[in-house]
Structure formats: C-alpha cells, structure tokens
C-alpha cells in the first residue's frame, strides 16, 4: 500500500475539475497541467498546483506523454489520473507511468491493450461466457472475405473499427453492394482517428438500447458492480443524456447483466473503475459491446443513486486498498439523469458553437449537481471538445428527476453561445422519453426534422419581440432625456447617439 499524497490530473475541462474536487475531498494535493489557451481555465485555478505543458492543440500538450511524466516527477506526484479521453485508454502511457514509478490510476497496460482492441475484447467476453452479437471474428483482410462474413451474419451489418470508440470508423451497411465502399471509408476514418485501419463486421441490432454496467475492482481480487446506466440517447454515436437506473432494467436483469460485467472483469484481470457496455434489444436480450477502461463521462448518475464516490474509490484502489463496499451493500436509491451541456447548435445538426459567454449562471437547489469546467466570464476555447458542463438531477423517482431536470435546464443561463439546453428541455417533455421508450435511434425517431423541432414556440418568439420593442422604446425614451430615473437628463442628452456610453446609463 502506497499513501497517495499528490495526484497529477492529465486532463482539462469538467473532468479535471471533478477529479480536483475528488482530491480535495480526500485531502490529496491536486496538480493541474495546461496548454497555452487553458492558462486561465477553471481547472488550473481550482487545482492546488498548476504547471504549463505549452502548445495550443491537444497533440502539442495534453497528449505529449513525456511532458506529463516530466511534470509529475518534478512536482513529486505519486499518481496520475488520466480522466477520460486523451491518454485515459492509452496502454503505452500507462506503461510509461509504471516505468517512472508513477501510479497510473486505471487498469494495467496489458488490460488496457486487451480490452481496447475490440476483437480481443470479444474473445475475452466469449471466454467469460458473455452473450455477444454475431460478428466476424477477425479484422477484414479482403473484400471477398468480408462479403462472406456479412452474408453469414445477415444484413444489416455494422462495420466497426477494431481500435474504435465514439462512433468513429463506424458504418451501417444495409445490402451487399454498399459493403465495399463502407469498409473503405470506415478504415480511412479509423486510420485518421486511431492510427489503426483494422475494421470488422458485426450484426446490426435494430433499435437497441445502450445500457452499461459500472464495475469496480481492487488489487486483491474483489470485483463488484454498481448497477446500470442507460445511455440510449445519442447523437453522432455519442451519448448526450444518460440515466440510472434504466427504465427497463428490473432487479433480475440487473443481477444478470451485473454478473456478466463482473465475469469479464475477472477474466481480464481488471483493476479500478470500468464500464461494461451492452446493447439491449427490444425483447431485453443483452449483447456485450465493449469495455471502457476508465471513468466514464456519465459516472455521476451512478454516484447519485448509489451514494458511492467513484473517484474516491479509484484513489483507494490505486493506493492498493481493498474495496470497502461489498456487492450486498450497493443499493440504488431514487433516480438520476444527466444532460451533457454542449456548446453546440442543435438545429444546425449539433455543430460546435464557440465564443465568449456574456452571462453564465448554473442552477442549484434540491437534487441538482453540476460538474462544470467553466465559471462566469470564461470563453469556450476552440481547441477542445465543446462540453461546458454535466447537469445531473436526482429524484426519489424518475418523474421527480425529470421535473427537476426541466427546472434546472430552465434556470441554466448561458448567453453568448448556442447550447444543447433547449434540445434537452424538449427531450424531458417528450412523451416517449417520459414513458421510458428509448433506443439509440431516439433522436432520429422522435425528431425527424430536428431543425423544425428546435424552432422556438410562437409565444416565446412573441415575448422576445416584445422585449426588443420595450428595450428599444426605453432606449429612445432615454435618448430623448424623458426618463424619470435618477441620472440627470442633461447627461443623457450629452451622450445621445453614443450607444456605448448610454448602455452604462441604463
């Protein structure tokens, strides 16, 4: 057992802030690293210590393994938490940490490699007895072999990158004639995204739910699961709204999926926090999808319903401690929902929106948690993911969690950039969502014309028009010096025409 006194967080944004808070809660000194554009980012200000990586892009900063190791050694950090993304699932970085006697907070490099390769992960799942969707067992070597595989599996099929994740290098193929083109584009996308062109073919499951199991394993052979998260609402194959528990998972199914997740963790020799992802079809059969060997973006919903702080547990496991919770002690209470608040223009097809936030105010109050990487006055830099914050609400039941989410979305003030907030408010009021009828096609099914759905309701437009008329009237009134406010009308006259000056007078 090592006492961990100082942790370097090799990440930025909300997850860096989340881990810094975790360090603070555990009495551990937190060390931030930062790229040039992140010098004034909140994670740098919130950490106990902060050191520059220099460079603007991720490739020049957060992805440079040697720089991060160097900072860790210089400042005396015993451990590195990689967050998610960046180096979180990079086996060579985990290995470099080990070589430098630094604890990498995550599983061993071998486990990362094994589970990071989708084909090897499938083999491990098979060995552990998990149910899988039919697939080609190897990466595709030539188009004829691929055609044979696809015919055997049956169309529609899914082309997936072996090194993949986040929907990159993924293509749905409906019929044999589209197969070759799809493999080519998927392989090219996989090459540019992961530097690994291998793709394989899997049975395409229609209207699946995406349900995942949180696992936690220590170095003493104890493995537990912390229930499920339903993450079916996705855009561009990326999650946008998650919840726990799933509206369709009962105790029995939870136990079965949980056992499966624990089985693959044991089979692979897993240590730390991880997530076993499954697709669940319309009759509630579940199929192994992949293992994410890191803390997930959506981990707070599990924390809210189980009362267990996953980051604290990661720290304990990394220090070599035994898990303090047994499977029997894990209890779900109530319901939690997470909306990822992205700086994106939803109507334009979820494209990133950057800029200065003229006004920013986060919601709070009963049942509300915000994991954010920003505070008022901050800019959203163009170099990184457009995730502003994760808004999580808890309710004693799903209905209350939804009501609180609607309220919290309404309280959330972001002026200056477009966000996913209006979209998420729309989902909370959608009948299929309220009824728990979810699938990964939810957005396309419920909002086939997203731009039209995102049009503000007429009464809101009218209110805003009324506001414009009132602001204009007030302004012209003041320009004419007729205002009955305290400031002298003479001053208003003097400023007449100088709009900038006038704004201050109001």
């Amino acid at each position: 057992m090592t006492e961990i006194k100082k942790i370097l967080i090799a990440n930025r944004g909300e997850i860096a802030v989340r881990i810094i808070r975790g360090c603070s809660d555990a009495g551990i000194t937190s060390v931030a690293v930062y790229s040039d554009p992140d010098r004034t980012a909140y994670h740098v200000r919130a950490a106990d210590e902060a050191y520059p990586l220099h460079g603007s892009t991720s490739a020049e900063s957060y992805l440079v393994q040697e720089k991060i190791i160097e900072v860790a050694k210089e400042c005396g950090a015993q451990a590195i938490h990689p967050g998610y993304g960046f180096l979180a699932e990079n086996a060579s970085f985990a290995e470099l940490c080990a070589k430098n006697d630094i604890i990498f907070i995550g599983p061993t490099p071998e486990v990362i490699s094994l589970l990071g390769d989708k084909l090897e992960a499938r083999q491990t799942a098979i060995k552990a007895g998990l149910p899988l969707a039919p697939a080609s067992t190897h990466d595709i070597e030539n188009i004829n072999g691929a055609k044979a595989d696809a015919d055997k599996i049956g169309y529609p099929v899914l082309i997936k990158a072996a090194a993949g994740g986040g929907g990159k290098g993924m293509r749905i193929v409906e019929s044999p004639d589209a197969l070759e083109a799809a493999i080519k584009t998927a392989a090219s996308e996989a090459t540019s995204a992961f530097g690994d062109k291998r793709v394989y073919i899997e049975k395409y499951i229609a209207r699946p739910r995406h349900i995942e199991i949180q696992i936690m394993a220590d170095t003493h052979g104890n493995v537990i699961h912390l229930g499920e998260r339903e993450c079916s609402i996705q855009r561009r194959h990326q999650k946008v709204i998650e919840e726990s528990p799933s509206p369709v998972v009962d105790d029995k199914l939870r136990a079965r999926m949980g056992e499966a997740a624990v089985a693959i963790a044991r089979e692979s020799g897993y240590v730390g926090a991880g997530t076993v992802e499954f697709l669940v079809d319309e009759t509630l059969n579940f199929y192994f999808l992949e293992v994410n060997t890191r803390l997930q973006v959506e981990h707070p919903v599990t924390e809210m319903v189980t009362g267990i702080d996953l980051v604290q547990e990661q720290f304990k496991v990394a220090a070599g401690e035994k898990l303090t919770i047994t499977q029997e002690e894990v209890k779900q209470r109530g319901h939690a929902i997470e909306c990822r608040i992205y700086a994106e223009d939803v109507a334009a097809g979820f494209i990133p929106s950057t800029g200065h936030m003229a006004a920013y105010h986060e919601p709070s109050g009963p049942g509300v948690r915000v994991d954010s990487g920003f505070v008022s006055g901050d800019d959203i830099p163009v170099y990184y993911d457009p995730l502003i914050a994760k808004l999580v609400t808890w309710g004693s039941d799903r209905r209350q969690a939804i009501c609180r989410m609607l309220r919290a979305l309404d309280e959330y003030t972001v002026q200056g950039v477009e966000t996913t907030i209006p979209f998420e408010a729309m989902v909370m009021e959608n009948q299929s969502f309220i009824d728990g009828r979810l699938s990964t096609h939810f957005i396309a099914d419920e909002f086939p014309d997203l731009a039209a759905s995102m049009m503000p309701p007429e009464e809101e437009m009218e209110l805003s028009a009324m506001a414009a008329a009132l602001i204009d009237y007030r302004r012209k009134f003041k320009l004419a010096g007729i205002g009955n406010e305290k400031q002298q009308t003479a001053d208003a006259w003097k400023l007449s025409g100088r709009i900038d000056g006038l704004r201050k007078v109001w």
Binding site: V382, T413, Q415, E460, L463, M466, A468
Partner: protein
Amino acid sequence: MKKVQVNTADKNYKFELWRSNGDLFIKRNGSQHKADIVRLNNNRYSLIIGGRSHEIGVEHLPDGYAISHGARSENFRVEDYELAKIKKAAGISDTQAVKNVAAPMPGLIVDIQCAIGDEVTKGQSLLVMEAMKMENDIKSPLSGKIKAINISPRESVDKGRVLVEFE
C-alpha cells in the same frame, strides 16, 4: 404612444407602447399589458409583463437586438410602424434574405461538395468542415444558384468567414 414593428428574418410583430402615470404599457392584437423593465448586470434585464416574470439577455447589434430568453437567442429589428408601412408600399422588403453561407465555427475545410453555378436545394450539403476533431456537414440554408465559392480544400477558416455566396 408609439407604434412599432419588430422584424425577424421571416416574421413581424406589431406593438403599441405608451407611458401612463409613470408606468409603461404594451399592446398587441388588442390585449394590453403593464410592462416593467429593469436592467441587471451583463446586459441582462428583468422584465415583468402583465405579472409574468422573465429574465432576458440583450446584445446590441448594428441594426437591432439579439434577445436571449432561456437558452435561446433570436435577432430582432425594431422599426417605426408608419415607416414600415411606407417601405412595404414602396415594395422594399422588410427582411433581407441571407444570401451566403458563413463558417459557423473556426475550422478546416475538408471537402467542397458544390461548384459555382450549381442549383442547390435547402438542406443540401455544400461542404465539410473539420472542427473539434469532428467532421461537420455545412448545409445550404436556402434553395438557389451558387455565385461564388471563397475557399479551397484544406484551408483554415475563422468563424463568420463567408464560404459560399448565392445569386
């Protein structure tokens, strides 16, 4: 009393505004409300219209206002109603149609899927931009004929750069 017309890209609203005993009133379609508007900080205002409380954000644009309400933002121009009537009679359009496509974010042009002279339909993909590690289709905001394409593949562009112009 003042009559104004508030225009968006494709709609307009007519209001009457006046003061009486120090209170401000606004009327639309025959229904009239007392309105109370007070400035907060950061260009935000508290607005109570007919008892309903709203907080709005205001940005001054060269030709109007961007009004944020909740998490949405819309642009409005405010015109004198009589002037608007005259303009309409003279056949001057209230709304200036957007005749180009600007970069919605800073990024790299990856692919151009249209050519000068093409007749495109609203929603058709014109080009692909890479930003924040994602490829984004830039779609046509209108149906029309392409007059100019101002960028080349692999070119980096700033937000707001006019990429494609229509006739």
